[in-house]
Amino acid sequence: MHLSFNRNPACVIAEVSGELDLSTAGSFRDRVDQELMRTGSPNLVLNLQNLEFIDSTGLGVLLGRHRQVTAAGGKLILAGPPPKVLAMIEMAGLSSVLIIARSQEEALRLLGGALS
């Protein structure tokens, strides 16, 4: 799993690639939470475009970030999940809970609309 961060005036953008499972979920959670705390940004865009694998542990950590961000008054948007990742999100019943955009650009547009 590789994770990198970009800062946008409206949010933290986290790009995650590789595999999100039991071996990587803890590191992913800790680093995202630290970045949100460090920047003080309430909003988070998770760019999943290059995520190759996710299981229920990975989905759990996504839901956990959603709960944490929304509890702090922000929004979490998942951007560009590949079809197999999107299928897992839908199987878990999370597509009605999480905001999903087709791309990072669409996610930022959605966030801009929510902030305006």
């Binding site: 499972d21 039991l22 071996s23 299981d55 229920s56 759990g60 956990g64 897992m88 878990a92």
Partner: protein, 137 residues
């Protein structure tokens, strides 16, 4: 022709991906399709994650994975010698979990992606998950 593979490893999170990739490679060699292999990877990940997370609370232990390909069937068995599951029916309920930020969907995903699943467990002796995937003709 019958083909077999056996792995034994410590119940550590880093071994989840090792098991998943090894079984996926084995399944590819048995001519399973890419979509089938993706489903097998999720099922193995869920079964091994459950063993790593739950079998040895506060201690160390081992997980074994055996894989057999014969005819159009791939049989995968994930086994531990840990604490066992006191209430299997409760553990099978979608959404049941004892771990924070986990969804309790592991067994549901396994049942969705594999053609048949059986779960045996004995408190104090361990747990075995047997999963069968049939290759499309």
């Amino acid at each position: 022709m019958k083909r077999e593979m056996f792995m034994r490893f410590s119940a550590h999170p880093s071994n989840v991906s090792v098991a998943r990739i090894a079984v996926a490679t084995f399944a590819a060699g048995a001519d399973f399709t890419i979509p089938d292999i993706e489903e097998i990877k999720v099922a193995v990940s869920e079964a091994v994650s459950n063993a790593v997370l739950h079998a040895y609370p506060g201690g160390e232990g081992e997980v074994t994975v055996s894989v057999t390909s014969q005819g159009d069937e791939l049989v995968i068995e994930v086994r531990d010698q840990g604490c066992g599951i006191p209430d299997i029916e409760k553990a099978k309920e979608p959404g049941f979990t004892t771990v924070p930020e986990h969804m309790g969907l592991g067994l549901s995903f396994i049942e969705s992606f594999m053609d048949s699943v059986s779960l045996e467990s004995e408190v104090g002796s361990g747990t075995a998950v047997r999963m069968v995937k049939k290759r499309c003709p």
